[in-house]
Every structure is written in C-alpha cells, then in structure tokens.
Symmetry: C2
Subunit: 409 residues, 2 copies
C-alpha cells in the first residue's frame, strides 16, 4: 500500500495568501461594485521595462530560426547571464565570485524551498519571526520542523523581531544548525546594517552553522551602510548561501527568474566529520530535478544589466519607494505605529488597540476596502501587526491612503 | 554543526548526460576540425513554430502595458491553458478531467523528480529497466532507493525490458508501492498497447499501488491501439498521476513548460489507514515550493492548441518521425539489431559482438564521429545497448547514417 508522507498533514490547511485571497473573494462577491485595493500580497504592478521586452522579442525571434534555436540550456543558467550577474551584482561591490557559484533558477521561492534538501532531515533550524512562510513550510514537509503547537513548530527556534528590539533579531545564546535570514526583511521592511549582519556571520562561523540568506529585496536598499549581499561580510563565503530574484527588482513575478549563490567554500559535515562542499551537491540536485530557466526569460534578465535596463529598473524601484515613503508619512501622521518602508517595499503596521492580525485585516477590508496581510501569517511574533506593500500604482496607493485616512481618522 | 544529507553522497559522481558531454568535449578538443553529429541527448533541434512565437510576442507586449501586465500567476497555471489542455489533450480522447486536476509546471523533469515528496520515504519503488535516470535519482536523494551495489539500488525493484521480452515489462509477482512507467518509452522507444497498459492499472488497483506515468512522448504515437494517456484505461483515475511535456511536442526544451495530472480520486494511506487525496497535497506542495510558469511561456503553450499551432506542431513531429523511420531502415539493412522508432523518437540499438555500452559509445564517437547515449546509463538492463535519437535535422541525420554505414559496413 502506498503510504503518504504524513509530514504534509501537519501543515495548517491553507497557505497564508490563499486564505487572504479567499476572504477577499467573499467580500467581492458580496460587494461587487466596490473597488477593493490590495496592499496585500507582495506582487508588483508596473509593466516590464522596454529593455527587457526588447531582449525577449529578440530571443523569441532567435528561437524561430534554425541557427538561433536553443534546446535544453545549462541547468545552472547561460554564461551570458551568469557573467552579467558576476559583474554587476557582485564585482561592482567588490565581491569576487566564480561563474559556477551562480545557479540561475525559476525564482527565489523554488530555491529557498528546495535548498533544505541538502541537509539532514533532523538538523535544527532557526528563523527570525515574523518571516516568509516558505522557509518553515518547506522544512515541515520533510519532517524537519517537528510538530506544531500554538502556531509554533517544535524543532524551529524562533528569533522574535518586535517593536521591543526595533525588529533587529538578537543572536541566539544556543546554537542552531541552520539560520534563515531575509534582509531587507519581508515582512517587517527592516534592513540590517553591515555591522549587524556581521554578528550573524560570526555566529555561523563560530557555531559551524549555515545561513540561508534571502536577498530578494536588495534592490530597494537606500542606505549606504546596508549590505546588498551577505558576501560583503568577511567569512560569509564559508557559511552562507544567498538567494536573489528578478521578481521585485525588474517585475519578473510573472516571468520567474532568480539565482542562488553557493560559494565553493560552503560545507556541511557528514556524521563522520567529513566536510562536503554544498556547491557540488546543489549542482547535482539541480541537474537531477531542474532543467534550467527559459532562454527567453534569461535574455530578459540579462537586459536588466544593460545601461538602459539598469536605468529603467531603477525608475520602477524609485516609483515603488515613493509609494513606500508616502504611505509611511501619511500613516505616521495619522498616529499609526508603522515600521519599515525605508530600505524595502514593505510597511509593518501595528494594529491599534491590540486587535488581532486577522481581525484587523477584516476590519480594514470591510471598513476601508483595502487589503493588507495579517502579520500572524508570518509567524507568532507577527500577531498584532499587518503588512502593507508599496507595489501598487501611485493612483491606487493614493486612493487607498485616502480611504485609510477617513477610516482611521 | 550543520549535517549534510548523506543520501546525496550515494549517487554516482556524475549524471549520465554530463558524462557523455564531457567525453564529447574531450574528443572535440582533440579533433577540432571534425563535425561531431549528436544523436545522443534527447533534445529537439527544429525552431519554435510561428504560432507559438506569435503568441509569445503578443504576451511580451501585453506585459509591457499597465492593463496587460501580469504578476504572480496561479501556481497551478492559468485557466486559459488548463482549459485548452482539458479540451484538446483529454476531452478529445473521451477523458473527462477537472481543471483543478491539471497543474502546469516548468517541465516534466521537475515534477517527475518532485512527485516522490508526497509519499513516505520508505515506500518501495519499482522501475522498468532501462529507464530515465531522474526517477531513481530523485528517490536516492531522499533515501528511498537504499544503497547501490553493482549498479542496482537495494530498495528499487527493477523490471527488466530486454530483447527477450520484446522490451515489454512483465507484471511483478511481488507487490510494490510505487511504479514509474514511461510510455512511449525513453530510452527503448517501445510503446505499450491499451491491453498491455491495462494490466498495469489492474495491478496497481489490486495492490493499492501508485503509478507515476510519464507521457512526455505521447505526441509521437502512430498506432491506434497505443494509449496517449493512462486515463484512457478504466480505473486509472484512482491510481495514476500523469506527466506531460511541451518539450518534445512543441520544441519547448529551452522554454520549460509541461503539466502534471493528479486526479481527485488518487489517494495514499496514512499508517492508520486513512486515505489522503494526493491532489490536495500536490496543490499544497506547488503553492509552497513553486510559483507558477512564465505567463509568456503559458501563452506559447496555449498556441500549440490553435488550428495553426496544431498543424505546425504535427509537421515538426512528422519531421522527426521521418528521421526515426529512415534511421531504422538504414540500420536494419546494415544488419544492426534495432528497436523502437515506431511510436517514439528513440531507437534502441544492440551493440554488436556484445560490446559494453560505454565502449561502443566511444567506438562510435571515435570511429563514426556520431554521439549516442550508452544504454547502461539508463539502468543495468541497458548494458549492451545504446540509444539513438531522431531529433536532429534531416541533413545531419543523413550524414550520420552515411558515416555509420561506412563504419559498420
């Protein structure tokens, strides 16, 4: 008899964003004439920039010719893209990587979920709390997270990030095997300075731990002392795997492209103490279970590094960050406790009067017709907060702020 | 200390096609002026058809407008594509499926590798031998395959397909939990008739086993009594998950799109005997670890179902099958024992004089400058065979056949 992987059954029935979508759908069905504005899911809204479109048109035409047609590409991505990544995302910041340390993928979500396959099922993991749910859920599915009680997994060490510590995670006193960090942070919108991130690298080196570092929002960084890559920190090449995405940078949420950096020096240990290079393991994993990213999409990603591409991408990011600044201004003036939005497209808002996240989500939906994301969906320390995103258009953001002002005022 | 997943270390050091590529590279370096012709890796060569290109151009332009831009799509694929699949791939054959039984993906390789996440790590698996290596390797990585000795994994039940049984797998006497079937078969090129496949469905129903059915090559079927989908067999909805791909159908190897069918009735059991619907589990898996396929690629896939698209795809498949027929004719006349090529783009060739697969691969490379794939790379029963593919151009195939004729003659 085929037996099911029962770890899946431990997962709460629904996925955060699916729950949100369901509740919004019910509201829309009941109120078909109301224009609901979503500041909920972290999805971009601005069109693909001209440089990317042009590159993709060219690639489509190329694939229509005998000479230009490309079949299976390298599982780890085409050299043209890996070279552009090395040059623009790393060398420009003084970071030297080799091309075979870069693995182009179909988006950071896949790889932040898949990376845990490389380590033993019983390694302990640690997350900052609140956090992007995929990190934990992908560990639940393999049994590594243990069992859930009161919204906490038994084998997950939670590092609370709340107003009390300015949302800066404190280095744990105990040791853990694996630490997930996402900075600039989703959902709080808070960034770590170089000095703050250095403490984590030192902790990992000292404890022989691994850091899985999600840098999906690095393009939104405005402050000089906030690192764009963990490899700006000395020693990180020995302990950190980093995830990048074109989703929020260049509006690729619907195109699916990102990349993972696995430096040659990163190792994990066998039970016998032998050190194994994770770069080789990841290569093998990708060659077996992945078949590369669309050539056309990779050409689009490459175009984000051309002078025009860079300029156009920068304009879109500035567009969203203008939203973020404006939202923070308006909400702050309304007396709302609101964080983030300075180096990230997310604002983290304390619910007034200690309302629960889900309750406040519903109040905002029914009262202001604005969709946020309940903070508790990102972890226990997210209770009492909601996340707002800066990804909507100026016009819709303005209308949403008007509604929130009237509703809160 | 972070511990490595030691199951990865059991894998033979290299992946079959990477090994082949390495040996070809060495030859090319030593013989830079020789035009090596590859009939090795199963990759297509003909350009994307006009209908697909047109649809993708439109989609790129759409993504450049405020109204047409699409961010995150549904993880399980857009309705426009799922509806086209239902109508053309299934309803046209009298198979009724629901849209939420279809999960669009980034190619069948990913999902044939990922599907094993849904079942317990200690379920027993069975494969026809020889077989596409991903089925076993993805099970090795989680520990399900056991340990390897003499090219055989301890927890894998091999069903030999050799000239002795006309490459038709015999129903096992023992029971297994999970069976991987790929028909028309890669690498042997042999198809199962409806009657033959029915025995497997009955076996699975009788033994409460699951069938993972890879239908990546169904578009190449020429014979009427060969089923295009396992759901043409009564009862398959209860026991089979099926994988489709646009790679070999419409030349999408470089675009990455396919789909997985998980019928509502397919279940696996908990230890307590509770039946769990795998459709829900797969949905959850995909929502957590996957973020959908590129909108542009999905529009391209949809275009393969338009009247022009269908016609153009059919022409390309006929083109490859003309190669297959011609190759089989020529090789047969040369006195070579060769199988397949009738309902599949693969020919399975017995090495003369009992030469080993790898030895014959090297002899053919150095003697005829033609690349094949060593059969033993697909499993122990592949020893003494090589695989040839019909995916090259008419011209290159013709040259390759000339060379093989001289070399063998």
């Amino acid at each position: 008899m085929a037996l099911v992987n029962e770890h899946f059954l431990k997962l709460p029935n629904n996925y955060l964003f699916a729950d949100v979508a369901k509740k919004v759908k019910i509201f829309r069905t009941m109120n078909p004439r109301v224009n609901v504005i979503t500041l909920g899911i972290g999805d971009v809204t601005q069109p693909l920039c001209p440089a990317v479109r042009q590159a993709m048109h060219l690639a489509v035409d190329e694939m229509g010719t005998e000479e230009g047609f490309r079949g299976y590409g390298p599982e780890q991505g085409y050299d043209f893209l890996r070279d552009a990544i090395l040059k623009h995302d790393f060398l420009a910041r003084g970071i030297h990587l080799d091309a075979d340390e870069i693995f182009v993928n179909d988006g950071a979500k896949s790889d932040t979920g898949n990376i845990q396959e490389l380590v033993r099922w019983d390694n302990s993991i640690s997350v900052t709390d609140p956090i992007y749910p995929v990190y934990i859920d992908s560990n639940v599915m393999i049994g590594r997270a243990g069992t859930i009680e009161d919204g906490r997994w038994s084998n997950v060490f939670y590092i609370p990030c709340t107003a009390d510590n300015n949302f800066i995670p404190q280095i744990p006193k105990q040791r853990v095997d694996i630490i997930y960090l996402c900075y600039p942070n989703n959902p709080t919108g808070i960034a770590l300075t170089k000095q703050q991130l250095r403490q984590w690298v030192n902790y990992a080196l000292h404890n022989d731990a691994l850091i899985f570092f999600d840098a999906a929002y690095e393009a939104y960084i405005q402050d000089d002392d906030v690192p764009h890559s963990i490899y700006e920190i000395k020693g990180a090449r020995k302990c950190a795997i980093e995830f990048h995405s074109y989703s929020k940078t260049a509006g690729f949420t619907g195109l699916r492209c990102g990349y993972t950096v696995v430096p040659h020096e990163v190792t994990a240990s066998t039970l016998n103490g032998e050190r194994i290079h994770l770069n080789q393991l990841w290569y093998r994993r990708q060659c077996t279970k992945f078949n590369g990213t669309s050539y056309i999409t990779q050409r689009g990603a490459e175009a984000t590094y051309s002078p025009e591409g860079k300029q156009q991408v920068r304009e879109t990011i500035n567009y969203y960050m203008e939203n973020a600044r404006h939202m923070k201004d308006v909400l702050t003036k309304l007396g709302v406790e609101v964080y983030g939005g300075q180096n990230a497209p997310y604002l983290w808002m304390k619910t007034p009067n200690g309302a629960s996240s889900w309750r406040y989500f519903e109040e905002m939906l029914y009262g202001a017709h604005v969709v946020c994301t309940p903070g508790v969906g990102f972890g226990p320390s997210g209770e009492g907060y909601v996340r707002l995103t800066a990804f909507n258009s100026h016009e819709q953001t303005e209308i949403a702020l008007d509604r929130l002002s009237k509703w809160l005022g």
